[in-house]
């Protein structure tokens, strides 16, 4: 059967071959130079075999991983990777527990390159985590390595440890002679071994970030495109190399629409705190306990843009957006717009270089609940407008950072973001040609649920933000000489609690405009004990109040509580060792009232320390010594030890917040809360620093008391001083400053004229009692004829009683010039600039215009310098004389709303 089957087939093949041969022969008759048909067919057969052979090579023996271009975004984890196919030069490279490790020391640098290449004309961003080992001498990445001479022709960014004490960030390239040419060396002070290196590679330049902070700017590229690799001298570990398309050099051109509804979604988003994931087509943060849980979009930066984010809370309230983030991996420097996690309000502002929140404003809104909201930010050249839905929240808010990444944030809340869009601002120009721009935004309309159209400006507050992770590295930059703060690897450590630091509060400005504190209700929901519904005003009016400013009381916590005039309404109050102790840390509103006297127009101060928890404070202007209804209260928050809250209990005994401020954590250290109740207003001080002033009183007189909420505390003293509560209308009009403090020197004040008379050449200061972030201060200064005498203004003082950490602008050399600069932690002046003044006059009109961390200086209405960067965004304002006599007249300080 087989034969029968094969024969006809074979015959058919022969027939076809013969036919082909005869056809070729016929062709040969026409083209006689052709070889015989058999030869032609032989050649064809040979070529066919050659083709088959090549096909076999290509199919069977082709590399498992071909050397090709990177497909971006590219993420290289080290869970499953075959390093055999990577380009290895020296070293022993292994994958250990999901990380890449170079394990041997020695004199030879170890290189390992990923066998993919970047396209020549595509800017890119590469990031990698580097862990230094004890014997690491250098570790980092190489980029634009030229195949096949990757080691000899490459750029390199690495952490170098030339000695145990020294660490530096180095970038450079290999020259034609095969030597490394450094392009930047940034010395670092070290206290960690884990770092994240980010390199942004553009067409002709590159820049380097270490742990999210730019340390190396715009270095020229010697090699373009090429390979990415790892570099180590000594043992080192690497993790999660990411490669994405870098920013467009004109970030104003960038457009972004979130892909949360796609699979896989969330490309380019990098969480740096909290628990972020894509769920139900939204980007969700599910941990409601984390402060400042953030996620940044790392792929692009944006400038002159509109940002829209649609979100809803799933637990708590406190979600919002970040924009103009210098780094997508941390809050530092970013602008923020979000719901308050304390009150029914939306807050906005920015995080300073230390990661502290500096508020620029807030607005009351209806409780957010689980409703869906859309935030809109119109970020322009110098300012931004913000909207909730289509309703204006604020317009022309100054920008401290004009471009950057966008991100999402939640604070003590969980939320889901369904869509994030960024697109260019209509009419904006970018790049070098950019002009001053006012964001183009819809006309304002009132938001339903927002109390009114007023935008309040908050006092600047510092609430430790994302950088509160694993400590901080302080690094000194070699070139240029500056102080650089490097935060450790942002995403790999569990977040710690935020660390609030300093309170800078409202003003005592007599002539200036007042600063309104964060006057939002504190919704603690605590009930006043025994609320009776009695009308407070009536009860207060019926009380036997002491005459204004005449009564005083100094506590004596000895003997029996009742014998000293105190009445414990709730909690466990007792005297111990001359102190008044409330020892029940669980109870709400544990209060004790000094029942012997009513006070009006007084200064009340209580010094205490928490024993457990936080929540202690004072009560005043209590209509009823037996209940809280109608009483004013100032105390630490029991929910946040780094905040104090104030307000009053309404007639039903329900607390109505009037505001809060972030302060240093209460801890167990001693604090003094002081209130000055005067007329219909009251001021609050914490530890002798003003927190807020001119708050409206609900009741203007009454009993005083102490309170703790879910905490125990020991009160050392309670002092009521009637004389210190001067009637507001009685402020001396002559100087307008009723809280002056002389730091040194001999100062005379007469009719608004201040004169320092000590002739010795030294700095003499007086603190005006005014403080602020945005203000204008002007004064006429008259210098004596002493050659070196000078005088000026000092502002942004961190401490009321010291010139440390302040900014100084003063005339010098008897008026021949002016200089400006800051004082350091030792109070030593560090000049930032100077100018020569002409003219023989010894009188000068000095004016400074300050907006947060920028200042302009004018002398005799002529601008000397503008936009001077300041090291701090706020602080006290004072006068400074260098030698004497120096006279200051017509001092005006206008703190802007």
């Amino acid at each position: 059967m087989k034969t029968l089957t094969i024969r006809p087939t074979f015959a058919r093949v022969r027939e076809r071959y013969a036919a082909l041969e005869s056809r070729l022969e016929r062709l040969r008759e026409r083209l006689p130079f052709l070889p015989r048909a058999r030869v032609l067919l032989s050649i064809a057969a040979l070529l066919a075999v050659a083709g088959l052979l090549y096909g076999a090579f290509k199919t069977v023996l082709a590399p498992k991983e071909t050397f090709t271009d990177f497909t971006l975004p590219y993420v290289q984890n080290f869970d499953e990777v075959n390093l055999r196919r990577w380009f290895k030069h020296e070293g022993v490279w292994t994958v250990r527990e999901g990380t890449l490790a170079q394990t041997v020391g020695g004199e030879h640098a170890a290189h390992l390159h990923i066998p993919y290449r970047l396209l020549a004309d595509k800017p890119y961003h590469v990031s990698v985590y580097v862990t230094l080992k004890k014997d690491t001498r250098a570790a980092g990445i190489s980029f634009n390595a030229q195949y096949p001479d990757m080691v000899e022709e490459q750029h390199r960014v690495f952490l170098a440890r030339p000695s145990k004490e020294r660490l530096e960030l180095v970038s450079g390239y290999m020259d034609e002679a095969g030597s490394f040419v450094p392009q930047a060396q940034v010395p670092l002070d070290v206290n960690t071994t884990e770092y994240r290196i980010d390199v942004f590679v553009y067409d002709k330049t590159y820049l380097v970030l270490l742990n999210g902070q730019r340390l190396i700017e715009k270095r020229p590229l010697t090699y373009s495109s090429g390979l990415i690799g790892f570099y180590a001298l000594g043992p080192a570990m690497f993790d999660t190399l990411k490669l994405t398309a870098a920013d467009n050099p004109n970030p104003g051109d960038m457009v972004y629409t979130s892909d949360f509804d796609q699979e896989p979604g969330g490309a380019g988003w990098v969480p740096f705190n909290g628990t972020w994931r894509i769920a139900d087509k939204t980007m969700s943060q599910s941990d409601p306990n984390v402060f400042d849980a953030g996620i940044g979009y790392e792929t692009s930066t944006f400038q002159n843009f509109t940002l829209r984010a649609t979100m809803h809370h799933t637990s708590g309230v406190g979600a919002g957006v970040l924009f103009n983030m210098p780094s997508p991996y941390q809050l530092n420097g970013a602008h923020v717009l979000r719901f308050s996690d304390e009150t029914d309000a939306i807050i906005w502002g920015y995080y300073d270089g230390q990661g502290n929140l500096v508020r620029q404003g807030y607005k009351d809104v209806k409780p957010a609940g689980n409703d869906t909201y859309m935030f809109q930010v119109f970020s322009g050249e110098n300012s931004y407008d913000i909207y909730l839905g289509e309703s204006l929240l604020a317009r022309d808010v100054p920008l401290t950072s004009t471009q950057g990444h966008v991100g999402l944030v939640t604070s003590r809340s969980a939320a889901s973001f369904s869509q994030v869009e960024v697109y260019p601002l209509f009419g904006a120009k970018n790049g070098a040609d950019s002009q001053q721009l006012t964001p183009v935004a819809p006309k304002p309309t009132l938001i339903p649920g927002v109390s009114d159209g007023t935008v309040h400006v908050s006092p600047t507050l510092k609430a430790g933000a994302a950088v509160t992770r694993t400590g901080r590295i302080t690094a000194t930059v070699g070139t240029p000489a500056a102080k650089v703060t490097v935060t450790p690897k942002p995403t790999r450590k569990a977040a710690e609690a935020p660390q609030a630091t300093v309170v800078v509060a409202g003003t005592r400005a007599g002539t200036g405009k007042r600063i309104v504190a964060t006057a939002t209700p504190e919704t603690t929901g605590t009930e006043a004990g025994g609320g009776s519904g009695v009308v407070v005003a009536t009860r207060a009016a019926n009380a036997t109040a002491a005459p204004a400013g005449t009564s005083s009381y100094t506590s004596e916590f000895t003997g029996k509580v009742s014998e000293q005039g105190w009445r414990a309404n709730s909690g466990q109050w007792s005297f111990a060792e001359g102190k008044f102790v409330q020892s029940n840390a669980e109870g709400f509103d544990s209060s004790a009232v000094y029942a012997r006297e009513l006070f009006k127009d007084f200064s009340l101060s209580a010094t205490f320390a928490h024993d457990e928890g936080s929540g202690a404070g004072i009560l005043f202007n209590m209509p009823d010594k037996g209940q809280l209804a109608g009483a004013h209260m100032v105390r630490y928050s029991e929910r946040r030890s780094n905040a104090i809250i104030w307000g009053y209990y309404d007639e039903t005994g329900r607390f109505k917040g009037q505001g809060f401020a972030d302060v240093e954590p209460a801890s167990t250290t001693k604090h003094t809360i002081r209130v000055v109740s005067s007329g219909s207003k009251y001021d609050i001080y914490l530890d002798d620093k003003p927190v807020v002033s001119d708050l409206p009183l609900q009741s203007e007189s009454g009993y005083i008391g102490l309170i703790t909420v879910r905490s125990s505390a020991t009160f050392e003293s309670v002092i009521v001083d009637g004389a210190k509560a001067k009637p507001r209308e009685a402020k001396p009009a002559s100087d307008g400053f009723n809280d002056l403090r002389v730091l040194n020197g001999t100062w005379n004040s007469d009719g608004g004229v201040f004169r320092q008379t000590v002739p010795n050449l030294a700095d003499y200061l007086i603190n005006t009692g005014a403080a602020g972030s945005v203000f204008t201060a002007e004064v006429k200064i008259t210098l004596s004829n002493t050659p070196d005498v000078g005088g000026g203004l000092v502002f942004h003082m961190a401490d009321r009683g010291s010139k440390k950490n302040a900014y100084v602008v003063r005339l010098r050399d008897g008026g021949k010039g002016i200089w400006w600069g800051s004082t350091d932690e030792a109070g030593k002046f560090k000049g930032q600039g100077s100018a020569t003044l002409t003219g023989a006059s010894k009188s000068f009109a000095l004016k400074v215009v300050v907006k947060f961390d920028r200042a302009s200086i004018l002398v005799n209405d002529k601008e000397i310098v503008n936009d001077v960067p300041l090291s701090r965004p706020d602080g006290w304002i004072g006068l400074l004389a260098y030698g004497g006599p120096v006279t200051f007249e017509n001092l005006k300080i206008s703190v802007e709303q």
Binding site: A45, A50, L53, A56, F57, L61, F87, K88
Partner: protein, 401 residues
């Protein structure tokens, strides 16, 4: 006295079957018995440094024959090519042999090493048969008999059974020449092309086949001064230019591999570039030989010294044989041997004793010389002794060549 004449039993067995089958088979079986036996004994009895790569975990025998470069062939067959610039990469090894390993592996229990062993030994047997036939054409049957034995027992002839390309390359080289001798230009070109895909020097077969084609046209070097020689050649070219074209296809195997390297690694000469990672620099044969000589004369007798000694010895012996090859077998064979020696020694004389294995014209010459009984008596036993020793060394992961 010829060794084969001393074996009437084998003669009797081989009486009725063609000589091109019996003698090569006999040489193959005896020599393989020697190396397999020696290898097995050495593998079992002698200590081996631990930690070496194991080609086939299920077969000690297979692993015995897959050492050193075999790793690369197995790797290519199993995983494909890879290239790390300036590092030892498997692109140094040409693709035909690992390709066959991959294709045969399913028939060999999915073991590339086993497939390699199979291919090598089968190729060697076929190569011996064709070598016998070719030598019989060029010389005589006696020379053919001796040639196959000399090749089989050459000190490094165990490589013909190892997972190395030696046997396949020799098969293709001998076969191409055999076909050329038979004027089967198409098949010769095809085989030559395959040879050039087995080793870079395979492209040199073009010269050998072309020389044979010239001979077929009546051209002789000795008559190059005569005008008629060139006239005849011109006429031959006019008449048979397509054959020249066909023969010119021989280097296509090399070019195909270069194109493959360009496509995958952008480095068509990657197989040359990577040689530096093995310490091979293109110094030229004179300097390379000079360096080896210096090393030997330095007198520091160590492993390196001894390998240099036998490599230089092999180079010297085969180079010395070139004029005799020329005289006995013709310029084509001589040129083939000489150019291969020059190329092999240009980057050093290391492994020369292995590289000379496929230089079959020298073995043909030796077979011719073996008609002198005393020489025959010396060659075969001495070759066999050294072959056994080298085999024992090789299977214990000691580098021979």
């Amino acid at each position: 006295m010829n060794i084969t004449k001393k074996l009437p039993v084998w003669r009797a067995i081989a009486w009725d079957v063609p000589a091109w089958l019996t003698y090569p088979l006999l040489a193959f079986l005896v020599s393989r018995a020697l190396i397999f036996g020696a290898g097995l004994i050495a593998d079992l009895m002698l200590p081996t440094d631990p930690g070496h790569w194991l080609a086939d975990k299920d077969s000690r025998f297979v692993s015995m024959w897959a050492k050193w470069d075999s790793q690369y062939y197995v790797d290519i067959a199993a995983e494909g090519y890879w290239f790390t610039p300036k590092a030892q990469s498997n692109v140094a090894f040409f693709p035909l042999y690992p390709l066959l390993m991959r294709l045969v592996a399913p028939l060999a229990g999915d073991s590339e090493a086993r497939a390699g062993l199979l291919i090598s030994n089968l190729s060697f047997l076929l190569a011996l048969m064709l070598l016998y036939a070719l030598t019989e054409i060029e010389l005589d049957a006696g020379a053919a008999r001796r040639t196959v034995f000399y090749v089989s027992f050459f000190p490094t002839a165990f490589f013909f059974s190892a997972v190395y390309t030696e046997s396949l390359f020799m098969l293709l080289g001998v076969a191409a020449m055999f076909c050329a001798r038979k004027r089967w230009w198409l098949v010769a070109a095809l085989l030559g092309m395959l040879a050039s895909a087995t080793r870079n020097v395979g492209a040199l077969l073009w010269a050998l086949v072309m020389w044979e084609w010239l001979r077929a046209q009546g051209w002789r070097l000795s008559q190059a001064r005569k005008k008629e020689t060139w006239l005849n050649l011109g006429q031959g070219l006019m008449r048979n230019w397509a054959e020249v074209f066909i023969i010119a296809i021989i280097p296509l195997g090399l070019f195909g591999y270069m194109y493959f390297l360009k496509e995958n690694f952008e480095r068509p000469l990657a197989f040359v570039e990577t040689q530096a990672a093995w310490g091979r620099q293109m110094l030229g044969p004179i300097q390379s030989v000079g360096n080896s000589l210096k090393l030997i004369l330095a007198g520091d007798m160590n492993k390196s010294w001894i390998t240099s000694l036998w490599n230089l010895g092999a180079f010297a012996a085969f180079t010395a044989a070139v004029p005799f090859v020329w005289r006995r077998l013709g310029g084509g064979y001589a040129a083939y041997v000489l150019v291969q020696l020059i190329i092999a020694s240009s980057a050093g004389t290391g492994s020369m004793i292995r590289y000379v294995l496929p230089l079959f014209p020298v073995f043909m010459l030796l077979g011719d010389w073996g008609r002198r009984e005393w020489l025959d008596r010396v060659i075969t036993p001495s070759f066999a002794v050294v072959l056994g020793a080298f085999t024992a060394v090789f299977v214990n992961w000691i580098f021979v060549a």
